[in-house]
Amino acid sequence: MDVIIQLTYFVTAFLFIMGLKQMSHPATAKRGIVWAGYAMAAAVIVTFAWPGLHNFFLIILGILIGGGAAWVVAKKVAMTDMPQMVAIYNGMGGGAAGAIAAVELLRNVAHHGEMSIGLLVLAILGGLIGSVSFSGSMVAFAKLQGLINSRAVTFPFQQPINMAVLAVSLIFGLMYLFGVQNGTVVLWFFLLTLLFGVMMTIPIGGGDMPVVISLYNAFTGLAVGFEGFAIGNPAMIIAGTVVGAAGTLLTVLMAKAMNRSLYSVLFGAFGAVEQEGGEIKGSLKPMDPEDAASMMAFANKVIIVPGYGMAVAQAQQKVKELMEELEKRGVEVKFAIHPVAGRMPGHMNVLLAEAGIPYEKLYDLDEINPEFETADVALVIGANDVVNPAARREGSPLYGMPILDVDKAKQVFVLKRGRGKGFAGIENELFYADNTNMVYGDASDTLNKMVQALKNF
């Protein structure tokens, strides 16, 4: 039986790596996840034959409840809420790694130190990383879901206090390692690591959440890998380590796409900065959707800039209708996709693809920026920070982030729900520019009115 288990794990590890490889190309991506899915199912099934197991009722119950609930929720939730879904499921994986560590450490107490010191180090490290990932991901989930304020929460001496919490939890880990092995030490170790995860995440603003979720994803991978060593499970070792490495690289790539360093994401408290100086000239000029539509009807070229507002309003289908109406009139329509528009890299691409907008109409930042000068209309749908010209000015909290040069278009329409600030909490001077008109209202309603106006024109 052992041979079958090990062989299955071996194949599972291979399929995971191949699946991940396929997932990194658009054409084969779907096949990749399916392969990995079969591999996972096989690994879970053979694990029931692991020698010496009991508690089968509890195991099956746990799988059915946990897996079933997660499956139903993941299938039901709107595409726009996917980022926080990734956060919460990732956190759960971290929590599971932490739970494994906790049980192993408690067993080791009960059996008077049967584990070697090397395995204990790995179990403790995996427990630390796993529980930080768990509580941190839960905070990230709560921020994205709007359960708590997504702004960065800061207080004096924050970083020293955080480091102190981490240091004390490490001391408990070391105490365990060097012989003070009892349940109380294990309990305090986990309470403090959980607390550290929360404290590490609250000073991070909502705009940086994608990078943080990716980082915690890598953390969970690493924790799973370490616990794999601790309990001697090769499938966990390979899968966890691969995800740990891949996740770390992905985190760095994402941070780079946002022009932020990992350090500044974690310790910069972005978004807590108050807007200062920079008096904004001009005024907000509201306009009716119908008037904006008639101006677009006579344009030669319209560039649409989708943002989170489009996602929230579920307006992607309306965007497609607008595109079709404009194209009927011979207007050239292009889409400008900022790498971090929405809440995650690729978020807009996914939504527009869902609505059936052809791939080749979507342009990324470097391709589309030179074209704004020749565009008659730039239509900004619920995007804010990614079109804020303040990013070009030194001293602005947004400084250095690449933006779409929307303000260079002859006419700019901004579809926006209200007068609030963007995710970064910074006033947007684009909205006050002479060539900008604001079209207030729910993006879906506004676009609907525009489409109707174009049809009746």
Partner: protein, 97 residues
């Protein structure tokens, strides 16, 4: 032969390199689905949680072990469903007319 500690270190190193290589040069559009996909893959923690719960002796171990299985199963099932939904968007061939 190399002893098991060294073998473990080699496995760790090779798996890390594999993970790094697999992801490099990935287009920005796939960042989010890939994060979600790797999120599913570490759901393999479920097999570890199963073994731990299966060997649990005291009530405390059973409770924590059960929690582990619960969370790990959610990670695996939810991670799969989310990734699949994201990748369905890419099923139409990128360059169709």
């Amino acid at each position: 032969m190399i002893d098991s500690t060294w073998a473990a270190l080699y496995i760790f190193m090779l798996a890390a390199v594999a993970g790094y290589e697999v992801i490099s040069r990935v287009p920005v559009v796939l960042h989010t689905p890939l994060m979600s996909g790797s999120n599913f893959i570490h759901g393999i923690v479920l097999v570890g949680a199963m073994v731990v719960l299966g060997r649990a002796e005291t009530t405390t171990e059973q409770v924590i072990g059960f929690l582990g299985v619960l969370l790990a199963a959610a990670n695996a099932a939810g991670g799969y469903a989310v990734t699949e939904r994201m990748l369905e968007m890419f099923e139409r061939k990128p360059k169709e007319g």
